[in-house]
Amino acid sequence: MTKGPAVYCRYLIKRYGEGETAVEALRGIAVSFERGSFTAIMGPSGSGKSTLMHLLAGLDRPTSGNVWLDGTSLDGLDDTELTRLRRTRVGFVFQSLNLIPVLTAEENIVLPLRIAGEEIDEGWLERLLRAVGVEDRRHHLPSELSGGQQQRVALARALMSRPSVVFADEPTGNLDSHATEVILAMLRRAVDDFGQTIVMVTHDPLSAAHADRILFLQDGLVVRESERLSAPEILDSMKTLQLLI
């Protein structure tokens, strides 16, 4: 593994549209995510937090500025090269419908590696299955799993390739409070036990409270950055920054 931050960016600007109707989603962002850190990106809808995540993950291209993922500059990579990079260096957990309905839990977990045509580390797979607590449901189809179980399988999938960074986009958005706690605890353990780098986009202060670092985004800019905060402190910050409107 190369030294330096897992992912960082410089002068990131993302503009949609042209001329007068142009909208700047990101207006110049420079952030860095250290290896083994758990960062939450917060902000109201339209603040640019999802856009930032997409750019960092190589799912979209910035208007200007650049992203370095595990030391590799994303500038100038074509679609296929970006895809290959994502396969092994990036893990994803989306809000919902994470899994391919025709594949079993285990098949879903190894899917990215299979697509990449890479070897499956069976020991690691077993460990992950146990860690997310679905080892007895490994041969079930997603439709036979609860929402929480589905997200846990998705998390295991994100971790399977030991990526440089896992991006979690509102991973608990569709879950009840108990399942939410379980997932957040698992994200935390992935960071603590496996040294995994995680970047989580969320608007929920309770979720963000599990992170080591919190970035507050507003109107396409990082308006505040702080170390670990409790949920009430996060809520306070949001109030002061008028991020709740």
Partner: protein, 842 residues
């Protein structure tokens, strides 16, 4: 609800396209045939315009009218003396082949080459555009089309073959018949005495045209003329004669138009699959919408009405456009005929009300019918569903699967039994086996959704080897909605099965024809027209009889007639004393003695005709000529021959007396023992030089010629089948696009997880390939099965089952390739998919 349609324009358009194609084909067929009928009608009424009544023994103009008739000129003077008669004119209608500038005869397959006698303008027929009517024995007027095509001018010399060998005439004028295009037909007009010397004897004519004075009706003239006629002559009004001729053409075109219509209906039937799929998918996708409607208080009935209204709108729109497409189809069908070497006359193309009604009706009914099941499913969406996420429809229960399988099996068995147990005439057994084959197809279609899971697993297996996850995904996706995959594959299956059926059947037919010719033909050479079906001048017989190499010559004369209640079949006239030397009968009941005892009053009957006429040896039966003359004959023998001597055989002496239009179809030549075949061939060719368009063929060449006729028909079928297969391809594209649309988010996720654009393409190609492979394999198996069923039903007639292995493999490959091709567009769209938009979609 209709706003939905506008919103889903692209999809609605694709659904509609299937209906549109079917309606186009059906209405196109009707427009095409209406147009031909109109053209022929115009042609005939132009030809007979002015005449009130016609005394005739001629057949219709569309078919060659060829040999001598026996109306005496003295009858003309008798008629002229009748009150109410304004004018009387004898006419001759026969064949004449004009030789082109390149020395080759000007001939167009299926289009007549007419030799006519000149009649004055009041009797209709000709309009001269240059020159004047022919007068002397060396003058001729030719048709405008030929003159233009060949650059012939008035005053030039031109060579023409009539019943006499090649002769040169001076062009006196250029004329046309009425206002319609003759569609490849040519004519040469001679003065009446010249025509009589060329075709008949002096003083004889084919028919007599009579015009009436102002206050005399055709009916009055007919009642006056009828008592003057000998029994073999008839008198009809010009109007009735035209009608009869047009009806005769309708009969001949009937098989063809029936075939075209059948394809139209198959296209509509396949369209129904596409509609069923599209509606199923859009309705599944809109479950939330229906649930919301229900939650807001809509009754089931209202939901049903809304969906059916949508279907009706698609049906009407598609059928209307389909009717317009019908014009295009009509033009294409005509082009197809031209492509296979036959041209037909044309009048203005028009849409009959009946055609419009049928097209609209079929289109609408099929659309609504196919949408009904999905629509009923929409009504079963409970209001609460609005609050839940969409879930894939549950698989049908095991119990209903069993019921369905049992029903399909019963249908399959019934179809087989029906197909294989027929008796009676070939056409009866053919119809029966066609119905049985239809039942077999339906049974397979019915059972397909149940077995498709397993089939997908088998067919998709090679794609998954080596643990290819994409292959596995493709397989699972294909199996995910079995009904949908089954319907899509079924339509390809039916298309390919039809292609294969036609191929195998035609192959069997050709093989059996060759065997028949091998077994029966003793002659070393057969003299016939180059197209194999046109009559040849009687003078050819004398031209070859005198050759020293020749041991025996026997001619075969043909016309059409009925035996008892059989349909119109070929009637053949042979000379019993010589025919046995060139042809060996394949007797079912009878022996060489039967031919020898073929005296006037006896008949030999081909097995199939015997079946449909229900006669056996010794029976007495009434024989009717096409002009309506009747005679009672005794059956002396029953033989098998579906290639050369179909129908029944009469002694030539009787034949010439009863049939007014006998035509020499072929002259068989048996060489003397020890003669060089090559030398004889050269001799024959030299002797036939005065008869351009007439050739001497060896046995192998005769077989090839008969085979090439099958090929011509085959080409037409293939063009239509290409359309059907194209439609099923469209079905695959449609289903694939819809299912990809459903899975937009899933695809986006796969891309985010590291699936490259190339892999996306492979995944979609694999899915398409699986569906196509299912359809292709099932289609090939079904096609062979159908061909086997039908040939088995016709085994008694010598039709054999011959599997063209190369074509079967080729078709299979074509089907598989089709799957790959069908995936190109949907895959391209999926690759262009915006990953972000896909995964952000909630």
């Amino acid at each position: 609800m209709l706003r939905n349609l506008v919103a889903r324009r692209r999809r609605a358009a694709r659904t509609a396209f299937a209906v549109l194609l079917g309606v186009s084909l059906i209405s196109g067929t009707y427009i095409f045939t209406d147009n031909i009928h109109a053209a022929f009608r115009e042609l005939f009424s132009d030809a007979t315009r002015g005449s009130a009544v016609i005394v005739s023994s001629r057949q219709d103009l569309a078919v060659r009218v060829n040999a001598p008739a026996k109306t005496h000129v003295h009858l003309i003077s008798l008629i002229r003396s009748l009150p109410g008669v304004a004018g009387v004119e004898g006419e001759i209608t026969n064949t004449a082949t004009i030789i082109g500038r390149n020395g080759k005869p000007i001939e167009n397959t299926y289009a007549p080459t007419l030799g006519l006698s000149y009649v004055p303008p009041q009797f209709g027929r000709f309009t001269f555009v240059a020159g004047s009517p022919p007068t002397g024995p060396d003058q001729v007027a030719i048709d405008q089309g030929t003159a233009q095509q060949q650059g012939f001018h008035v005053g030039e010399m031109v060579s023409i073959v009539t019943d006499q060998p090649l002769r040169r005439f001076r062009i006196s004028g250029i004329a046309h018949l009425g206002s319609v295009s003759l569609g490849g037909a040519t004519f040469a007009v001679f003065s009446l005495p010249t025509a009589q010397s060329l075709y008949l004897e002096n003083g004889r004519v084919d028919q007599i045209a009579v015009t009436a004075t102002k206050d005399t009706t055709a009916a009055m003239l007919i009642s006056e003329i009828r008592p003057l006629l000998s029994p073999e002559l008839t008198v009809t009004s010009a109007q009735t004669e035209d009608d009869a001729e047009v009806a005769g053409i309708a009969d001949r075109l009937g098989i063809l138009t029936d075939g075209l219509l059948a394809f139209g209906f198959i296209a509509v039937f396949l369209g129904a699959f596409a509609i069923f799929n599209t509606f199923s998918m859009t309705i599944a996708e809109r479950t939330g919408e229906f649930a919301l409607l229900r939650a807001l208080g809509a009754t089931r009935r209202q939901v049903l009405d809304a969906v059916m209204l949508e279907a009706a709108a698609i049906g009407v729109a598609a059928s209307l456009v389909g009717l317009l497409g019908g014009f295009l189809a009509a033009i294409l069908i005509r082009a197809l005929f031209v492509a296979i070497g036959s041209s037909l006359p044309s009048a203005g193309i028009s849409l009959q009300l009946q055609t419009a009604e049928l097209g609209l009706g079929v289109g609408l009914l099929v659309t609504i019918g196919a949408a009904l099941v999905p629509a009923l499913r929409a009504t079963r969406v409970p209001p609460l569903q609005a609050l839940r996420e969409y879930q894939a429809p549950r698989k049908s229960s095991r119990r209903s699967d069993w019921l369905r399988s049992a029903a399909a099996l019963a249908l399959f068995a019934a179809g087989l039994i029906l197909a294989l147990t027929g008796s009676g005439s070939a056409s009866h057994r053919l119809t029966r086996s066609a119905v049985g084959a239809g039942a077999v197809v339906l049974a397979i279609v019915a059972v397909s959704p149940i077995v498709i899971d397993r089939m997908v697993r088998i067919v998709g297996w090679p794609l998954e080897r080596g643990g290819r996850i994409l292959g596995r995904l493709a397989r699972e996706n294909s199996a995910r909605n079995s009904t949908r995959t089954a319907a899509t594959a079924s339509s390809l299956m039916i298309g390919l099965a039809l292609v294969l059926f036609v191929t195998v059947y035609a192959n069997g037919l050709r093989t059996s024809t060759n065997r028949i010719i091998d077994r029966t033909l003793l002659a070393d050479f057969t003299i016939q027209s180059s197209d194999g079906s046109s009559p040849i001048p009687p003078a050819t017989v004398e031209a070859v009889t005198t050759l020293p190499e020749v041991q025996a010559v026997a001619s075969l004369t043909s016309a059409e007639g009925r035996l008892g209640r059989s349909g119109l079949v070929a009637a053949e006239g042979v000379d019993p004393s010589t025919f046995g030397q060139v042809y060996r009968f394949d007797w079912v009941h009878g022996s060489a003695a039967s031919l020898a005892s073929l005296l006037p009053g006896s008949v030999l009957v081909e097995q199939d005709t015997a079946r449909s006429a229900h006669v056996s040896v010794g029976d007495r039966i009434r024989m009717t000529t096409e002009t309506g003359l009747q005679s009672t004959v005794t059956v002396r023998g029953i033989y098998r021959d579906q290639a050369l001597l179909q129908g029944f055989v009469l002694p030539i002496s009787v034949f010439d007396r009863l049939f007014h239009q006998p035509r020499i179809q072929a002259v068989f030549v048996k060489l003397a023992p020890g003669t060089s075949v090559a030398g004889a061939a050269a001799q024959l060719t030299t002797s036939l030089r005065p008869f351009p368009g007439v050739v001497a063929r060896s046995k192998q060449q005769v077989e090839a010629e008969v085979g090439s006729h099958v090929n011509g028909v085959l080409a037409l079928f293939y063009a239509l089948l290409a359309l059907v297969v194209g439609m099923s391809l469209l079905g695959i594209v449609n289903t694939l696009s819809l299912s990809l649309h459903e899975r937009t988010r899933e695809l986006g996720m796969l891309r985010a997880l590291g699936m490259t654009p190339e892999q996306t393409r492979v995944l979609i190609r694999d899915e398409s390939f699986i569906t196509a492979a299912l359809g292709a394999i099932a289609g090939v198996v079904l096609g062979v099965l159908l061909a086997w069923i039908v040939t088995l039903a016709l085994a008694g007639d010598g039709v054999v089952f011959a599997l063209p292995v190369l074509q079967v493999l080729g078709l299979l490959a074509l089907g598989l390739l089709a799957g790959v091709v069908a995936s190109v567009l949907p895959a391209r769209r999926a690759v262009r998919l915006d990953v972000l938009a896909a995964i952000s979609q909630e």
